[in-house]
Every structure is written in structure tokens, then in C-alpha cells.
């Protein structure tokens, strides 16, 4: 029973993907229109700051409805095809497995890298981030930690010297060290 429900939802989400995406976008564009109304306005002006986002929101709503309609028409035909080809419908990936898990981990790594750059500074953050990110993207069979560590250290050193001394660009020093001093 549970499996049939899951399978039906899986078929629905794949066949009617554009319908679901269109619905989410419709909601976003409605929120844009609502958000635009709360913009502070210049009393004397006839065309105010809320005008442009409101126009974007209205056109977006219309296009989202068209996308939903298009998705519904093509999805209905696709659903018929999927039901007749049950073998095909088994394909799918769970949210926290395989490629999805690596994508989520990459997102978290980049977010942590940005936080770490501002806190700890560019050099230590880059050393850790590069090592972890390269390890994550490399297949287990080809993963050689020592080689990755050497690449990480050499690349970080080259970029630091190039940006800091050749291009004379600022690299984040890290707030924690400034407080320490």
C-alpha cells in the first residue's frame, strides 16, 4: 500500500514536473507582488518604486499559469505512457543518496567555506575546503589523500602569492585573528 502510494507520487512528480515547478513559481511571483506593495513610496511620484517589481510579478504569474497548463497537457500524455511502461518508472534517486547527497554536501561545504573565510581567514579555510571538496568529487577508487593534500597546499600557496603580491588584491584575513591580536 505504502509502496503503491510512493510509486504513484513518483510518477506524478516526474510526469507533472512542470506543473509543480509552475505552481511554486506562481507562489513566488504572488509573493513578489505582495512584497512590492510594502515598498516605501515617494508621495509626489506617480510612478513609484513598487511599479517595476509589480509588473515583473504580474507577468510572472501569467507565464507560470501558462507553464502549468503546458505541463498538465504534456504530463497527462506522459503519465499514460509511464503507466504502460512500469519498468521505466522504477528509476529514481532518494534525496540523501548518491548524486543528491554529494550535491547537498557540496552546498554545505561552500556555505561553511564562506563562513570560515570571514572567521578564520582565507588560507586555513581554503586548505580545508579544497581538500574536502576534491575528495568529495573524486571517485573512491581514484581518491589518493596524500596527492590531494599536495595539490591543495601548492594551489593555495600559488593563488595567495599571485593575488596578494602580484595583483595586490585583498584576501580576507579572518576576524578571529584580529580579535586575538
Amino acid at each position: 500500500m505504502e509502496d503503491t502510494k510512493k510509486r504513484n507520487f513518483s510518477i506524478f512528480s516526474r510526469c507533472y514536473k512542470d506543473v509543480l515547478v509552475g505552481a511554486v513559481l506562481l507562489l513566488i511571483f504572488v509573493l513578489i507582488i505582495i512584497g512590492a506593495q510594502s515598498t516605501q513610496l515617494l508621495v509626489l511620484a506617480t510612478i513609484t518604486a513598487k511599479f517595476w517589481p509589480t509588473v515583473i510579478g504580474i507577468i510572472g504569474c501569467v507565464l507560470s499559469v501558462v507553464l502549468i497548463a503546458q505541463g498538465f497537457i504534456s504530463g497527462r500524455k506522459l503519465a499514460l505512457l509511464e503507466n504502460s511502461e512500469s519498468a521505466v518508472s522504477e528509476k529514481g534517486e532518494k534525496l540523501f543518496e548518491g548524486g543528491n547527497r554529494r550535491t547537498i554536501l557540496t552546498f554545505l561545504l561552500v556555505a561553511l567555506y564562506i563562513i570560515s573565510i570571514t572567521l578564520l581567514g582565507w588560507i586555513p579555510s581554503t586548505l580545508v575546503y579544497l581538500f574536502l571538496q576534491i575528495s568529495l568529487l573524486t571517485e573512491k577508487a581514484k581518491r589518493k589523500p596524500l596527492r590531494i593534500a599536495i595539490i591543495t597546499v601548492i594551489f593555495t600557496a600559488i593563488v595567495y602569492v599571485l593575488f596578494r603580491y602580484a595583483f595586490m588584491l585583498m584576501l580576507p584575513p579572518g576576524t578571529i585573528w584580529q580579535i586575538w591580536r
Binding site: 516526474r14 513578489i32 512590492a36 543528491n100 567555506y113 564562506i114 568529487l137 593563488v159
Partner: protein, 507 residues
């Protein structure tokens, strides 16, 4: 002609040649690293020119400008990440060529037609600058708005499989550009009381985030392809045959005309012309279906136009004293520092110096083609680095570049926000280019729409009754209606379910 020859005589000195060479090399490096731009290179090198005379100073700055625009093609072709908005369209066919093992040919095409475009733009600047600047003066608020809308509709409609998704992607870009202080009255919009949002999202972190981070997310999802290409990408001779070059000349001319004309328009310039030119050449082609699969035509369309925009952008700068973008604004500053005042009288009062500038531009573009041509064999080695190592390295440089532009940590978050938006959009079949074009042109379209409505006292009619504006708006409507009808007819002809099922599992 005598004046030009004597100008060459004045600039061919070891000092100027060395400055041109240094400028070109630094410009190419900045242009080719995603996150760094030619504009940043010019801003960084400007202080070095304070003590220089006018000629060596402009030798360095103009070489940086040409090198920066030309360098963008390297990352666009090899790693599918455009360093600047000027090379967005180079990715469309350049990277598929690299994946097919034709990276050398793609680079050679880009280099040669960048040179072609630069020379075309400079020649137009030399011979037609004063009359062209008069045409540019005829462009008012209505015309600028209509050109922006035309560019956006062209990009949204022509670049994706679905017109509706292209237009929605463009609207998302327009919305993201509206975050922060509103133009004209400066009231904050969609900032949720967070002051970091007040200035809006910076352009370079948004662009590199959208393309680079999306690319790394894709690599994380599917790590089966270890290298960008497993095929041999050796460069033989020039990279392509004489016959292939001759075949591309008409495309090069069309792209250069578009680049020069669009380049003249302040603010719209190189960021728009490459995508606009790609769209037009695809529309005019006998085989539009081959675009995006890795053909020379696509690389020519983008590279000839973005380099031709250099000459175009110099037209309003020299003849009217109006800078079109951040780079030309810095150049205007450099003119002022040297005691020169570009404007209507500049052409007649400084004829000698103007011709020295032309000679510097010509020599700089020769230098660029030579440096890039000999560097190509080195650039192509990037394809040998595994994606799992290359992409994190690129991401690190993108983040450094994002931070270094304004030294603001929020710009790194902008990188992450745009990357995440880009990943989800591309996962659901939305093209990314309309997002960035909407983001770049959004503020221009809004400011001119609001000004136009103010001038017309709330009426939209002047946008249609002004001839140039009316023509551009009319063309936008025709393109949208025509594409909508042709896509609907195509969908009816095909069995929609069959086509769709392939897309579902491609994701």
C-alpha cells in the same frame, strides 16, 4: 592615413611595446580567471599610470581593456564558465566543441574572430565616430527601454527549448536585479531590513555564481565524467582551414556590426551584444538546430561581437565624453588625469592624440592575437586536469574574485545564492543566460521605463510613437509571437510524450 602612419611611428618604441605586452598579458589573465574582470585589471593598474605621460598611460590601459575582453573566451570554452557577461554566448558552442575534442579549434576561432571584431570596431571608430555619435544622441529614454526589452526578448526566446521557461528565467533575473535600493527614489526593496541587501547583488559574483557553482553542483551530482573531454584536443596549424575561415567571414561581419552598434549604447554594450549577435546569427542560419551542439558559427557570433563593442564603446566616450560602463568610466578618469577632456571638441582639438589612440588600439589587438595564439597550446592543457580537481580550484578563484571586487563578504554569499538558484533552474530545464541578461539589463530597463512614463505623464504611448523605440518594441512582439506559434506547431507535429520522456530521464 598619413596621420595614422606617423602615429605608429611615435608609438613603436621599446617602452610602449613593453607596456602593451604587459597590459595584454595581465588583461588576458584577468579576463580568463572567472571572478576577475578586465575592468578590475584596469582599476588596479590605474594608479601606476599617475606618473606616466598620456601615451604610455593609454598604451597600458587600452591593452588591458582589449586583453580583458579577449581573455574571457578561454574559461568560457574550456570550462563552460564565462569570466564576464561579455563571453556568456561563447560557452554555448565553444564548450560543446571542447567536449568533442575540438577545444583547440574553438580557441583558435575565438582568438582570430576576436581580432576580426576588434579591428572592425576600431575601423568604425576611426571613420564613422562623429556621425555615429550623432545617432547615439537620438537615443532617449524611450529608445533605451525598447532596446533593453528587445535584447531580453531575443535572449529569452531564442536560447532555450521552451520560450515560456526562457521568459520566466528572464523575469527571475529582473527580480533579482530589483533587490536593494530602487533607482530614481532610492527606497529599499525586498531587503527584509537586512542592510547587506541595500546595495543589491554585485554583478560579477552573480554571474560567476550562476555559472561556476551550477557547474560544480552538476559535477557533484554526476561524477562519472572524470575529464571535460577524453578526446585529444591538439591544435594543428592555425586551428582551422582557410575554407572554414572564409565561410565564417559573413557571420563575423554581422556579429561585428551588431557589436559595434550595441557597444555604442551606454550601459548595454558588450554584456548584451554577444548574446544578441548569437541569437541573430542563429536566426539567420540555414541550420539553426546545429547551434549549441558545438559549431564554429556560435563562437564567431559571440567573440566577433564582444570585441567589436570595444570600438563601439569608445565612440560615445571620445566624441561625447559619455562612458558606457565601468571600464570606460575608468578610462574617462584616465583622460581627465592627463588633462584631456573628451567631448564634441575633442576630435578637432586633439587630432594627433586621437590617431595615437587608434594606433594603440590596433597594435594592442595585434599583440593580443599573438599572445593568445602562442598561449593556446598552454591553455588547452586545462582540459587534461580532472574535473574533480579543476572545478574546486575554479570555485576558490571565483570566491576570491567575488570578494576582491568590493572587499565585501556579502558578495561571497551572492555567489552562493545565485549558484543555488542557477542549479535549481537548470535542473528543471530553465536556461541560465536569460537570468543573467535580465539581471544586467533589469536596472537599465526599469530606470528608462520609469523616466519615460514620467516624461509621458503616465502614458505608455510615447514608447510606441517614437519611431526607433516603436520598431524595437514591434520586433520584440514579433519574435515572441512567432516563436510561440512555431514552438506550438512543432510540439503538435511531434509526439510530445516521446520527446518529454527523454527529457525527464536526462535530468
Amino acid at each position: 592615413m598619413d596621420l595614422l602612419l606617423s602615429s605608429f611611428g611615435q608609438i613603436i618604441t621599446p617602452e610602449i611595446i613593453l607596456l602593451l605586452f604587459a597590459g595584454v598579458v595581465i588583461g588576458i589573465i584577468f579576463g580568463s580567471i572567472p571572478g576577475l574582470t578586465g575592468g578590475m585589471a584596469i582599476a588596479l593598474c590605474l594608479p601606476f599610470t599617475f606618473r606616466m605621460d598620456a601615451v604610455p598611460s593609454f598604451a597600458l590601459l587600452l591593452a588591458l581593456y582589449i586583453g580583458g575582453i579577449s581573455g574571457g573566451l578561454i574559461s568560457a570554452i574550456l570550462i563552460n564558465i564565462p569570466g564576464t557577461p561579455a563571453s556568456v554566448a561563447t560557452c554555448f558552442d565553444g564548450h560543446p566543441m571542447a567536449k568533442k575534442g575540438l577545444g583547440g579549434k574553438a580557441l583558435a576561432t575565438g582568438v582570430i574572430f576576436s581580432f576580426f571584431g576588434t579591428i572592425f570596431g576600431i575601423l568604425i571608430l576611426m571613420f564613422l565616430a562623429p556621425p555615429l555619435s550623432q545617432i547615439a544622441l537620438k537615443f532617449g529614454v524611450f529608445e533605451y527601454f525598447s532596446v533593453a526589452i528587445f535584447s531580453l526578448s531575443l535572449v529569452s526566446v531564442l536560447l532555450g527549448k521552451s520560450m515560456i521557461k526562457g521568459l520566466i528565467a528572464c523575469l527571475i533575473g529582473l527580480f533579482l536585479a530589483s533587490v536593494g535600493s530602487a533607482p530614481i527614489d532610492g527606497f529599499p526593496r525586498f531587503t527584509f531590513g537586512i542592510h547587506a541587501f541595500d546595495a543589491g547583488f554585485a554583478q560579477v559574483p552573480s554571474l560567476v555564481g550562476l555559472f561556476a557553482l551550477t557547474e560544480i553542483f552538476k559535477a557533484a551530482k554526476d561524477r562519472s565524467s572524470y575529464h571535460i573531454t577524453t578526446k585529444d584536443s591538439k591544435i594543428k596549424g592555425v586551428g582551422f582551414t582557410g575554407k572554414e575561415f572564409v565561410k565564417q567571414v559573413p557571420n563575423g561581419i554581422i556579429a561585428s556590426i551588431i557589436g559595434t552598434v550595441v557597444g555604442i549604447m551606454p550601459g548595454i554594450g558588450a554584456a548584451t551584444c554577444n548574446v544578441m549577435s548569437y541569437g541573430v546569427i542563429k536566426r539567420l542560419s540555414k541550420h539553426p538546430e546545429k547551434f549549441g551542439t558545438g559549431i564554429m558559427d556560435g563562437v564567431v557570433a559571440s567573440e566577433a561581437s564582444n570585441n567589436a563593442s570595444i570600438g563601439g564603446a569608445m565612440v560615445p566616450l571620445i566624441t561625447l565624453g559619455i562612458p558606457g560602463d565601468a571600464v570606460t568610466a575608468i578610462l574617462l578618469g584616465a583622460f581627465t588625469m592627463q588633462g584631456l577632456q573628451p567631448g564634441p571638441m575633442f576630435f578637432t582639438a586633439n587630432m594627433n592624440f586621437i590617431y595615437i589612440l587608434f594606433a594603440l588600439l590596433l597594435l594592442g589587438s595585434f599583440m593580443t592575437v599573438i599572445v593568445q595564439f602562442f598561449g593556446m597550446r598552454g591553455f588547452i592543457k586545462v582540459l587534461k586536469i580532472p574535473k574533480s580537481v579543476l572545478l574546486p580550484m575554479v570555485l576558490v578563484m571565483c570566491l576570491v574574485g567575488s570578494f576582491a571586487i568590493n572587499n565585501v563578504a556579502f558578495d561571497m554569499w551572492t555567489f552562493l545564492i545565485f549558484g543555488t538558484v542557477g542549479f535549481f533552474l537548470s535542473k528543471f530545464g530553465f536556461p541560465l543566460t536569460p537570468v543573467i541578461m535580465g539581471y544586467v539589463l533589469g536596472p537599465i530597463a526599469e530606470i528608462y521605463l520609469r523616466r519615460g512614463l514620467m516624461v509621458g505623464r503616465g502614458s505608455f504611448l510615447p514608447f510606441i510613437t517614437h519611431p526607433i523605440s516603436g520598431v524595437f518594441l514591434g520586433m520584440s512582439i514579433i519574435i515572441i509571437v512567432y516563436t510561440f506559434i512555431s514552438q506550438t506547431l512543432q510540439a503538435r507535429k511531434k509526439n510530445p510524450a516521446k520527446g518529454k520522456i527523454a527529457n525527464v530521464y536526462d535530468d
